[in-house]
Amino acid sequence: MYETNYHRASSVEDAVRLKSSAEEGKYLAGGMTLIATMKQRLAAPGDLVDIRHIAGLKFISVTGRSVRIGAATTHYDVASSPELKAICPAICDLAHHIGDPHVRHMGTIGGSVANNDPAADYPAALLALDAVIVTNQREIGAADFFTGLFETALEEGEMIVAIAFEAPERAAYAKFRNPASRYAMTGVFVARRDSGDVRVAVTGAGADGVFRHAGMEAALAQNWSPDALSGATTDPADLLSDLHASSEYRAQLVKVMAKRAVAAA
């Protein structure tokens, strides 16, 4: 790892100030992506602004069906929250299958969302839940937030403070884990509201990162059952292909994971 300067922020304002006074600074949350990439020398920020100790960024609040999760809340805390489990077990289940127990003890929802790894789990949930990403400056809808591989709508210095969404009546996430890395080789999050609104979001597969599957959404709006997806197709030309899986294989995984998610919802 190259040299770096560590700063610990005591509040959101403090963090933004520390970051803006650094030439090439980065926010540091759980470090499960950032420290790991710095060790490989793939990232070399001159300054790190640690936001993990900001008390106001670690919370889960549930009011009626409205959910708000602080950016520095760990995957473990999301997975094991009884309030969240009562109203949206799908997101607890998703968090419980990120990485391994030690990664879940450190990694945070804000860090995962800001990083927008094409194989990360949370982006699929946020897109399907029509979540809002709350920053120190504004609120950004998930549909506008995830802009490409490792790309988001965040501006330089902008910091995520919370994630907010209305819990749908039914939801589930099905993930085909890469057996070595534990990331999603394909993951599908489905959500259905009593209003009839259906969303299907796919991660781990898209060549441009997380995406909504319009064909599946239409089929499930007509008939909310795994069978409704039998004829659904995904064009391999839009999907990733790597040593783990070809795009044709991923296209098939999208269908199978979507069916499993609907069956579990």
């Binding site: 470090g31 420290i35 391994d100 990664v103 450190m106």
Partner: protein, 162 residues
């Protein structure tokens, strides 16, 4: 370079290190606690697992500076008064190790999962909880056996005291 202070195995410690120093190197090189191992550079093997404020973490992917002010427990802090911790004793009794390289991380992981799951810890849960720990020798069977035995032992202790 800054002085980093934390509590390690119940003892207040402080030592100068660069901001980029990883917690595992701080433990091994500054504090000479070499029980915590480094087995990979991709945050995957779990040889480096310690407890930070009561939760298992990978000390190879945390800066010492991030851990400043926290309470750390390493494998050296497990045995008390010359008596092996129940998890250590179970690994010994069940042949839960061969070369022993992964063992410190396995023991710290086992203790963490036993505390979180209590009586609900079954074989499938143990195997899932070992997702972040790699062993090149044992094939895991005896590790799982050791953890289940330790869980039973640790449940039995408070009952016996009643």
């Amino acid at each position: 370079m800054a002085k980093v202070k934390m509590t390690v195995n119940g003892r207040q410690v402080g030592s100068d290190c660069e901001d980029r120093t990883l917690l595992v190197h701080f433990l091994r090189e500054n504090l000479a606690l070499t029980g915590t191992h480094v087995g990979c550079d991709t945050t995957q093997c779990g040889a480096c697992v310690v407890h930070m404020d009561g939760r298992s973490v990978k000390s190879c992917t945390i800066l010492a500076a991030q851990a400043a002010g926290s309470s750390i427990t390493t494998i050296e802090g497990m045995a008390k008064d010359g008596e092996l911790h129940p998890v250590q004793a179970a690994f010994k009794a069940n042949h839960g190790l061969q070369c022993g390289f992964c063992t410190p991380g396995m023991v710290m992981t086992a203790d963490d999962m036993i505390r979180r799951h209590g009586a609900n810890l079954d074989e499938a849960t143990v195997r899932a909880e070992l997702d972040g720990n790699i062993c090149r020798c044992t094939g895991y069977h005896n590790i799982v056996k050791s953890i289940l035995a330790a869980a039973q032992e640790m449940r039995a202790v408070p009952q016996a005291a009643e």
